[in-house]
């Protein structure tokens, strides 16, 4: 598919629909998984479609942090009260926070749900074949740490979110959802 200039400017190819990703449906899935906190450093890929509308959801409290690794400590603290958190960050933040993820989420087995915006990933192209070097690093990093991960690129992918969050808290472990297309 060739993207026209006007489509590129408006991002209309990323709109929810038959081949798009609906931000509102992602948020509904998060809420249905009983997540009550969203810990985030803004990401251009997900700010308009996820973070900003999340801020208007009465059931979600947004904690805006300064650097991504903070999220993993905060989520761990919340989990001691069975309060569920979603960490919403860009892939660059995931790479930055690798040591915190290793220590807290993997070695200490704290329940951790990470939603990672793959800024610049080409829709329909697997992350490991992206033209963006950083995007190509994401899945190998997660695989190396043994972290379950799922590509969320169309509405058809959203159904995996709630059960995977449930599983992460039932048998504490980290899980990552890779947002492969800008949500509309």
């Amino acid at each position: 598919m060739t993207m026209t200039n006007s489509q590129a400017a408006t991002g209309s190819l990323n709109a929810g629909g038959p081949s798009g990703l609906s931000g509102q449906k992602v948020i509904s899935a998060i809420e249905s998984a009983n997540i009550s906190y969203v810990l985030s450093v803004p990401d251009l890929h997900t700010s308009a479609g996820l973070l900003q509308p999340m801020a208007n959801q009465p059931g979600l409290r947004i904690v805006r942090v300064c650097k991504e690794d903070e999220c993993f400590g905060i989520a761990a603290g919340l989990s001691f009260a069975s309060k569920r958190a979603l960490i919403l960050i860009q892939y660059t933040g995931l790479l930055y926070a690798a040591n915190a993820i290793r220590a807290i989420s993997v070695e200490q087995q704290m329940p951790t749900c990470i939603m990672v915006g793959l800024l610049g990933k080409e829709p329909g192209i697997p992350p490991n074949q992206s033209g963006r070097m950083g995007v190509r690093f994401v899945e190998p990093l997660l695989q190396t740490m043994g972290i379950r991960h799922h590509l969320i690129e169309t509405d058809d992918d959203i159904g995996i979110i709630a059960p995977e969050v449930e599983a992460a808290y039932a048998d504490p472990h980290p899980v990552a959802f890779l947002i492969g297309r800008r949500p509309a």
């Binding site: 903070e70 761990a76 200490q108």
Partner: protein, 206 residues
């Protein structure tokens, strides 16, 4: 005597703190953690290791999760410098039940006593600029005794920079502090709403 020259022994100030702690969650890291554990081994102690700088982030999560329970964090200056943004995050989240102590001794003590890049950081000023209005520096035990009750009871968040001397270090047992058994006991105590007292409370060997 200048303010920089006047410093407390970390163990002395933690011993004074231990005398006031009852049902609080205490999150500690590295040198403060080893000294704290040597003083008071309690179920409601939580240790932050492996991701240096994140003790206050753990504490923030706990403070949000348990708004009716005081959360005390025993941080180090090297650790805080690795996560200075935490002060802004804490100020914005504004948990009333969080008390953040930072032991400032100018060194990465647990990593061999290597000096920090700069020993004269005004952490009180940084905390205040970040938006934590209850920020202070304490460099003598009398002042600490005078303020500790308020720091543990009144609405915060509170930030207190404790000017302390380097070492000596208490015996380290990271495997124990890092253990799943400790985390599970901590989780169980919180879920059951228990107010565990200390299992052991003894003066630190000098």
């Amino acid at each position: 005597m200048t303010q920089l020259a006047q410093r407390m022994e970390r163990r002395d100030v933690l011993e004074r703190l231990a005398n006031h702690v009852t049902n609080e969650i205490v999150v500690s890291t590295y040198s403060s953690a080893t000294d704290w554990l040597a003083l008071t081994d309690r179920t409601l102690n939580h240790f932050s290791f492996g991701a240096m700088g994140l003790a206050s982030s753990h504490a923030l999560g706990l403070a949000l999760a348990f708004p009716d329970r005081r959360v005390v964090v025993l941080d180090g200056d090297g650790s805080l410098l690795m996560n200075l943004g935490t002060l802004v995050t804490i100020a914005a989240a504004a948990p009333r039940n969080l008390t953040h102590f930072v032991c400032q001794n100018g060194s990465y003590e647990a990593n061999g006593g290597v000096p920090l890049p700069h020993d004269h950081v005004d952490f009180e000023g940084v905390a205040r600029s970040a938006g934590i209005s209850s920020a202070m520096t304490i460099s003598d035990l009398e002042t600490f005794e005078r303020r500790i009750e308020r720091l543990l009871v009144e609405d915060g968040p509170h930030f207190a920079c404790l000017k302390v001397a380097q070492g000596p270090l208490s015996k380290r047992n990271y495997k124990d502090m890092y253990s799943a058994e400790r985390r599970n006991a901590f989780r169980d105590a919180l879920r059951e709403g228990r107010d565990d007292g200390p299992r052991r409370h003894s003066p630190v060997e000098r």
